[in-house]
């Protein structure tokens, strides 16, 4: 039913554990006859792209992050974290201000788990459980749509848990 027939295929993707802020990870692999397997390991370019992203973010090197991983016409779509506020559509020119506000809002941010990591040729997707003394516990997700190895659209998902 889900095999590689004329209409398409469903893949099972190995789920790496990510990183704490120090960038540790693991990888899980399984196989069945029915699913085309894709193994995502920490040494793949896409996983390296993710790891580098986190390294830039947590070291505060925002200029490096923007220069190396985002296109000049990149746009972020970010849900509001406060009830009743509209989502933000953030063009590249406003990234520095936005990311600065993000880091200020959460303060010391711990990635408690990384879930559902997927890397495609043109996309990176993940969810994470995060916590900080300042902002509490959150479930977050990001999807990066990429062109020529750089992010052109970033879609965020956030929900406060307590």
């Amino acid at each position: 039913m889900w095999g590689d027939g004329a209409g398409g295929v469903v893949e099972r993707v190995g789920t790496p554990l990510a990183p704490t802020r120090r960038g540790h990870r693991r990888n899980a692999i399984s196989s069945t006859d029915e699913y085309e397997e894709t193994v995502t390991v920490s040494t793949t370019p896409d996983r390296a792209f993710f790891d580098k992203h986190m390294e830039y973010l947590f070291s505060g090197d925002l200029d490096g992050l923007f220069e190396s991983q985002y296109r000049d016409d990149a746009i972020l779509i970010v849900p509001a974290v406060s009830e009743g506020e509209p989502p933000s559509i953030v063009p590249r020119a406003q990234f520095k201000e936005f990311f600065g506000a993000f880091l200020d809002y959460y303060g010391e941010l711990n990635v408690d788990s990384l879930d559902h990591f997927v890397a495609l040729d043109d996309s990176i997707f993940f969810q994470a459980m995060v916590s900080s003394p300042k902002a509490g516990r959150w479930v977050m997700g990001e999807a990066w749509h990429m062109i020529d190895g750089k992010i052109d659209r970033q879609y965020d998902y956030v929900h406060k848990l307590d």
Binding site: M1, W2, G5, A6, G7, G8, V9, V10, E11, R12, V13, T15, S30, T32, E34, Y35, T38, I75, I77, P79, A80, P86, P87, I89, D115, H116, F117, V118, L120, D122, S123, F125, Q127, V139, G141, A143, H145, R153, Y155, Y157, H159
Partner: protein
Amino acid sequence: MSTTFGQKFFDVHMEYIRNNDIDGMIDDQYTQDAILISPFDILPTPPPHVVRGNQALKDFFRKYIDWQGHIDVEKLYNFAELDDSINFMAIFSANTGRWVVGDEWHLVEGKIDRHYSFAHKLV
């Protein structure tokens, strides 16, 4: 009343789901080679699932709708759109529990070519 392309597209999407017209939804709103990334644990192997192509999307969505059963949307929020993107979040209750979800659609020529689906079970 729908006023933008994104709102109309979203409304049509929901109408397809209400009518359980999964084939119509996939044929009309997804490219033939569209890819869905889903965190929902509805297949024999654990998520995330990468669902590729027209027929696999139809099969997956039918299974998903059956798995959720009746869906009561409590809140629809954070709707945003660009020329090539539609995003929203929702909180709903279903047979499987209460969920906060986010759907991010990347579009090419007015059809979804990448569907990123986020989900967290609240209860």
